[in-house]
């Protein structure tokens, strides 16, 4: 195969794989729990800053993963207790409150670190030869880790007791309580996990993108598009949505330019909202 074609294929795979992980947290929080957390993108931003802090301190990059997940998990816990639970079953109020929170988080980041772009160096520099194409080592590693991570989570969700209890809670919350599931606690834990995954996403993308207080907006928009196209509540939907949004975005960007890529994503998302509002593979 032409090395250029191989590189484009790998870029598309990279777009899909990282988008799947970035959208994963939102798929849990919004897709399963039905919580509209507009500040979800700011958690990705917080994760990216965690990566920058770890690297600036001269610590091993891998340390950023637990740090970001802990920090975003803790933030998630506070958000759940302070905003989400008191506004339970009031979606519009939740949207407003978390939108306010997203402003607060952006301005807080701006106050601490300023508006300027921070750049995070690649923790894994160099390239690997893939079928004649020299492909960046870090990107290749992310493709593999993201796919393995999503597959592991899908298997856990399908097979584990906790995954089944989450499905039960989502499908029929009253019956879940009647059979002894403490749904409040389970929903809180799932929310915290979704926030921690946003932090992980931030660590992943930090070396590939400028880190700045407003970076969260792009990620939350793309993640919402993934859920719109793929449908809520199933891992297959998440992967399909990431495949279409991430694949289309990367493909059109490669053939034309970034702007055309964004436009194509926006058009397909609008078409889906219009013609198939439940997405490709919505939960039954």
């Amino acid at each position: 195969m032409d090395p250029l074609v191989t590189t484009q294929f790998l870029n598309i795979a990279f777009g899909i794989a990282t988008l799947a992980v970035l959208a994963l947290g939102l798929a849990i929080v919004f897709g399963l729990l039905g919580v509209l957390n507009i500040a979800h993108g700011e958690l990705v931003m917080a994760g990216a800053y965690a990566a920058w802090i770890v690297q600036s301190a001269g610590l091993p990059y891998a340390l950023a993963v637990p740090l970001a997940m802990l920090a975003c998990g803790l933030l998630g816990w506070l958000i759940e207790a302070g905003l989400i639970r008191p506004l339970y079953a009031r979606p519009f109020d939740t949207l407003l409150a978390t939108w306010g929170l997203s402003l607060l988080l952006r301005k807080t980041a701006e106050a601490i670190w300023g508006l300027g772009y921070k750049s995070v160096a690649l923790p894994l520099p160099g390239t690997v030869d893939v079928l004649g194409a020299a492909y960046p080592r870090y990107r290749l590693m992310l493709i593999v880790l993201c796919l393995a991570g999503v597959a592991a989570l899908a298997a856990w969700f399908a097979k584990s007791g906790a995954g089944t209890r989450i499905k039960a809670m989502v499908a029929n919350p009253d019956l879940a309580q009647a059979v002894g599931i403490r749904t409040g606690r389970l929903a809180r834990n799932a929310f915290v996990a979704g926030c921690a995954l946003a932090g992980l996403g931030g660590v992943m993308v930090a070396p590939l993108t400028p880190v700045h207080p407003f970076m969260g907006i792009d990620y939350i928009l793309e993640s919402f598009f993934v859920l719109v196209v793929g449908g809520l509540g199933s891992v297959a939907g998440l992967v399909a949505g990431a495949g279409i949004i991430g694949g289309l975005g990367s493909l059109v960007s490669a053939v034309a330019d970034r702007t055309a890529g964004y436009t194509a994503v926006l058009v397909i998302a609008i078409l889906f909202l219009w013609l198939r509002p439940r997405g490709l593979l919505a939960r039954a």
């Binding site: 089944t164 009253d174 019956l175 309580q177 009647a178 059979v179 002894g180 599931i181 403490r182 749904t183």
Partner: protein
């Protein structure tokens, strides 16, 4: 009677409306209490209040002498109450097996074996999604899920809705066996014939109040006088 389960002076409702206006009842270990009445008199609301889905503004609920009126549903389940609701009685998206064993206590698989012989549909459909079952089959699944929880009190809300006659007989046999083992039941039922065969105690609700009650098998004429307008 030393009551296994009793409730007194229950007042509860949704938002500003009061549906239960001071309801009392009791059932001893090994007994079946039937709650009868027309549609919309508060029978299902009473069951929801007993399970903790509806906070009671007044009244007391006791299980084996322990006041449980302040407990949330998952904690009442842990205290020993099984609840089989009238509507949305199973998890449609989970398999039949997951419905049975999702939160089943130890020993549930052994307790299922004799029940699975009585209700072979459960074994045949074990790996299928419960949503593919008919209404009556879902009721059977819900009933059996409750039966293998092996609790001291079982609340059944319209357990026979849509269930075929021979399966109703099998359900009644299971209730009798579990009563013999000391379980208490509170049953809401439209099917008076079932009450005539199983009831140790009964009460009739109207407009959120108990308008008649008694022990032993209820007499149809007495009940019908209260149930018909």
């Amino acid at each position: 009677m030393s009551a296994r389960f009793e409730f007194r002076g229950l007042v509860a409702g949704y938002g500003g409306t009061t549906i239960l206006r001071g309801i009392a009842g009791a059932v001893a270990a090994g007994e079946v209490l039937f709650v009868l009445g027309r549609n919309g008199v508060g029978k299902s609301t009473l069951m929801k209040a007993l399970m903790g889905f509806l906070p009671c503004r007044e009244g007391a609920v006791r299980l084996d002498g322990r006041e449980i009126g302040g407990l949330a549903p998952p904690e009442r389940r842990r205290a020993g109450i099984t609840y089989c609701p009238q509507e949305r009685a199973v998890f449609d998206e989970l398999s039949v097996a997951d419905n049975l064993f999702l939160t089943a206590p130890p020993g549930a698989a052994a307790r299922l074996a004799p029940l699975a012989e009585r209700f072979p549909i459960l074994a045949r459909r074990r790996e299928q999604r419960a949503g593919t079952l008919s209404g009556g089959e879902k009721k059977i699944l819900s009933f059996v899920r409750g039966a293998i929880e092996d609790h001291s009190l079982v609340l059944l809300d319209e357990p026979t809705e849509g269930v075929q006659a021979e399966n109703i007989e099998r359900m009644e046999a299971v209730v009798r066996e579990q009563c013999a083992a000391g379980t208490a039941f509170v049953v809401v039922e439209q099917n008076l014939a079932m009450a005539e065969r199983l009831a140790d105690r009964w009460l009739v609700l109207d407009k959120g109040q108990v308008v008649a009650e008694g022990s032993g098998r209820p007499e149809r004429a007495a009940i019908i006088a209260h149930i018909q307008v």
